[in-house]
């Protein structure tokens, strides 16, 4: 598993060849994951080649990014 940049705990990714790319002020792009395990230990499977995992902790579709970070940015 290759990590690019910081990955906020306690999210974990399941897969053989995973690449994580954090986006400035945005989500983490994760390539090669079969599933994401959230802080509560629940496993969220995916079949997308690349997924955006929430990094602002405010998504309404956790653990996936739903664009909420943009709303937060506007309110700042």
């Amino acid at each position: 598993m290759r990590l690019v940049g910081r990955v906020p705990e306690p999210v974990a990714f399941c897969g053989d060849d995973i690449e994580v790319t954090p986006c400035p002020e945005g989500p983490m792009l994760v390539r090669g994951a079969d599933a994401v395990r959230d802080g509560a230990g629940e496993l969220h499977p995916t079949t997308r080649p690349v997924v955006a995992v929430c990094a602002c902790d405010r998504s309404q579709r956790m653990p996936w990014c739903d664009g909420t970070h943009k709303v937060l940015r506007r309110r700042q």
Binding site: P27, L29, T47, R48, P49, V50, A52, D66, G67
Partner: protein, 360 residues
Amino acid sequence: MLLPQTRGPLSEAVVAGLAGHRSFDVATLSRAVQELPAGTDLLTDDDFHLALWMLYELHYHDFEGVDPDLEWDPDVLHVRRLLEGPFEAELRRRCEPHVAETLAAEGELPERLFALTESFEGPSVAKFVHRKATLEQFLELMVQRSIYHLKESDPHSWVIPRITGKPKAALVELQYDEYGGGRPDRLHATMFGDSLEGCGLDRRYGAYVDRVPGYTLASNNAMSLLGLHRRLRGAAMGHLGAFEATSSLPCRKFAGGVRRLGLPEVVATYFDEHVEADAVHEQLAFRDICGELVRTGQAEERDVVLGVTVCLLMDAVAGDRMLAAWEAGRSTLRAGSAGSPQTLPAPSSGPRGVHRAVAS
């Protein structure tokens, strides 16, 4: 699909030429374009954009009774260029203030592109649909969207062979997701068809062309214009980025509206899928495609910003008109023609006791 009903001299001449009733009268069409009535809005005109839409559509799908070889007929291409020229010039003119501002701004290109999409003034059709739209108004929205979403993502795929390296890999990665990741039932265009069906609407490609106004055809034409010209590849990818970056949050609102109206879950599923998918796609498009195209010298920054602005502008033009119609109690659709139904059908399973006919 069938050739559409004509809307004026330009679309009449194009239909006659495509149907083979007479050859393309390039001289007359050329004069008609040069002598467009003063005040013709090249971003919304019905006749102009129907004519151009038919010519672009030759590159996507069949019209019944039209020789497919006309796609590369020199006269057809000549006429297409006559219409594209003024349309592109008008898009550039209307976009220029935003383009200049974004080019002059500080920061990395992807950040400036996100900032442009977030600051662009435009009405929120999604907010209206979330809170207020009636079932009839929502069905109109689906009809309007059917022109593009039944070929969702196709206009941006023209760019794949025209770029290379990381942006190409990212574009294909994005499109693979749009095209269902290998599962035909997850093709976004197919999922949109399923949601049309869930609304009781016709899912056949082009079924509603006669009902949609010029501004909807124009926003489709803008995508084909950018996609079909290699020189505009940067703008096509900017358009893609803006399209994706203005999708996640609105789709959440659309899904909320769908559930408020009590439509079948298959309709909401389409919008749910886009909340999640487009949160990925906007990052891919602005960072790995647009940012990298410019960084590697495969596209000009100005072109990318132009494409972003074209998407935002066309969206605002359409949104303004749709909301104005709804707020005045009017339909956004054109009256059904003699051969087409005057009302949109009722959803197969929706809320009971709701009047579902859509006035034309």
